[in-house]
């Protein structure tokens, strides 16, 4: 059983295409790629828009807010997560549109539910970048309803 918020922080492999994204996480900023041709805001971070094929892509800053699109309490972990169970693996739908893989933290794993409102938190990897995870926040409006 892990303490709340004590998930491992594996260092992601960073490459020239993704350095801007990861550097921003060190400053507590969640960037998203946006196509300047068709306007699509997409995930994961890359420099080609899969919606229209354009390579004219810019970075915008996400609000860091979203809702849980799907979640599972993982009770048998592997690798870095072997001793981190139970922990919540989830897709969060950001307010900007993209659904991103992440963990939900700072609450009992069993309490996480689809539709729950969440906000980003950054967990420092100690290697110049941080992992964007999410924690529950108060519900607002109709965000909790299925789309």
């Amino acid at each position: 059983m892990s303490e709340l918020g004590s998930l491992p922080t594996p260092v992601p492999p960073v490459n020239p295409e993704t350095r801007v994204f990861w550097d921003a996480t060190a400053n507590g900023r969640l960037l998203l790629p946006r196509c300047t041709v068709c306007g699509s805001v997409f995930w994961y971070p890359k420099t080609l828009c899969g919606a229209c094929g354009s390579v004219a892509v810019e970075w915008i800053e996400s609000s860091g807010l979203g809702i849980v699109y799907s979640c599972t309490v993982t009770r048998r972990g592997v690798g870095d997560y072997r001793d981190a169970v139970p922990y919540v693996l989830a897709y969060v739908e950001l307010d900007e549109g993209p659904r991103v893989m992440t963990n939900i933290v700072d609450c009992p794993p069993e309490d996480v539910a689809i539709g729950q409102r969440v906000a980003v938190v950054f967990h420092d990897t100690g290697a110049g970048c941080s992992l964007p995870r999410f924690r529950p926040v108060a519900q607002t409006g109709s965000q909790g309803l299925p789309s």
Binding site: P12, G50, T74, V78, P98, I114
Partner: protein, 385 residues
């Protein structure tokens, strides 16, 4: 051009072993190759094309060397567990184009004795945005199950019905690893591994392998063995869609219609289906996606013996499937083809043989479920269809 009737499966062989500490991987490939060729009445010297998933590196060259094959064509398409179903389609298309007339497809693995490692690729562009969050194989499927339950009201009891059906079939297969029928209650009482999936929602981890031989119509006519006609094939790669991922369906929504159209059939014409069963949710989504029922109605469709042979709505995985019989190399596509061949030849276990089985489907899923995932559908018919 269509592949309908342009190629036949002449030989099929499933390794009887489920735990093989004393065989090398190449030996397992060789045993299943010889088994499938013997089943067809052919020999290694007849083979002029070789297909595998390329696990030894540089495609099929290594095993072609080991087996002493003289091949003019190789294909090592690797779409996870769906690979081999794709291989049959590729072989049929190439046979129709006159590239060769006898293709050997083999697969083998030893995850039970060597330990299963979740395949990941650090150099893949998505890796950094997923693997750091601790996804497990089961966790990825669980995310799809959770969302399906949320949108459609699918229940754990309904998922358990899939395991119940597979275990009922497995009792009639002397080679099956788990031959004891289980109940819905047994499934729900097994340990939760990644909510909402339990241990008994999960496939087996087995050593072993399998092989099939795909031949031209001329070669098929020359053989004494009853062959199975390749009627249609479809493939698809489903992905994140720029982050608009929908976890409630798989690539079968695209591969299925392609295969059915090529075969000239509809889902209602299918007598038996081998459906990829890495986890119970895999089966549930695929029966919906292939059009055997409406989207979201899979839970009701699989309940009340809906999948149990020979009289269920859709007899499936009559060998016990990857859930109870065999899931060699954690890649279930090959065994899906092999049981479909048995059904069409009338050689399934008598208790689960579908009467007058004329049309069968083998569907494979590869990678994960509903996220980045391969799909391959094959429609097969009795030799005289």
């Amino acid at each position: 051009m269509s592949i309908r009737g342009k190629a036949f499966i002449a030989g099929a062989y499933e390794h009887p072993g489920r735990e093989l500490p004393d065989l090398s991987l190449a030996q397992i490939h060789a045993e299943v190759a010889l088994g499938a060729l013997a089943d067809a009445g052919l020999s290694l010297s007849d083979v002029n094309a070789y297909f595998c998933d390329g696990q030894f590196g540089f495609g099929g060259i290594s095993m072609a060397d080991y087996l002493g094959l003289s091949v003019r064509y190789t294909d090592s398409t690797n779409t996870g567990g769906s690979s081999y179903i794709g291989h049959v389609g590729h072989a049929a298309a190439a046979i129709a184009a006159g590239k060769f007339d006898v293709a050997l497809i083999t697969m083998a693995g030893k995850p039970r004795t060597q330990g299963r490692v979740r395949p990941t690729f650090q150099i893949a562009p998505e890796y950094a945005f997923e693997e750091v969050f601790g996804p497990t194989t089961l966790g990825m499927y669980a995310l799809a199950a959770s969302r399906h339950m949320y949108e459609y009201g699918t229940t754990s009891e309904q998922l358990a019905e899939i395991r119940v059906a597979a275990s009922w079939h497995a009792q009639f297969n002397p080679h099956a690893l788990m031959r004891t029928p289980v109940t819905v209650e047994d499934v729900l009482a097994s340990p939760m591994v990644s909510d909402p999936l339990h241990r008994l929602d999960s496939c087996l981890i087995t050593d072993g392998g399998g092989a099939v031989v795909v031949v031209s119509p001329d070669v098929a006519r020359s053989l004494d063995r009853q062959c199975v006609k390749v009627l249609g094939h479809g493939e698809a790669a489903k992905h994140l869609g720029g982050g608009r991922i929908d976890l409630t369906y798989t690539g079968a929504v695209w591969s299925g219609p392609q295969a059915f159209e090529e075969a000239g059939i509809t889902p209602a014409d299918v007598d038996y289906a081998s459906i990829y069963d890495s986890f119970t949710i895999t089966v549930l989504q695929i029966v919906e996606d292939l059009g055997f029922c409406e989207k979201g109605q899979g839970g009701a469709f699989v309940s009340d013996g809906g999948l149990i042979a020979p009289d269920g709505r859709l007899p499936f995985n009559t060998d016990g499937g990857g859930l109870c019989n065999n899931h060699p190399a954690s890649r279930g596509g090959m065994t899906k083809i092999i049981e479909a061949v048995r059904q069409l030849r009338g050689e399934a276990a008598p208790q689960v043989q579908v009467r007058d089985c004329e049309i069968a489907v083998a569907h494979g899923n590869g990678g994960s479920l509903a996220t980045r995932t391969g799909a391959a559908t094959l429609v097969l018919g009795r030799e005289d269809t």
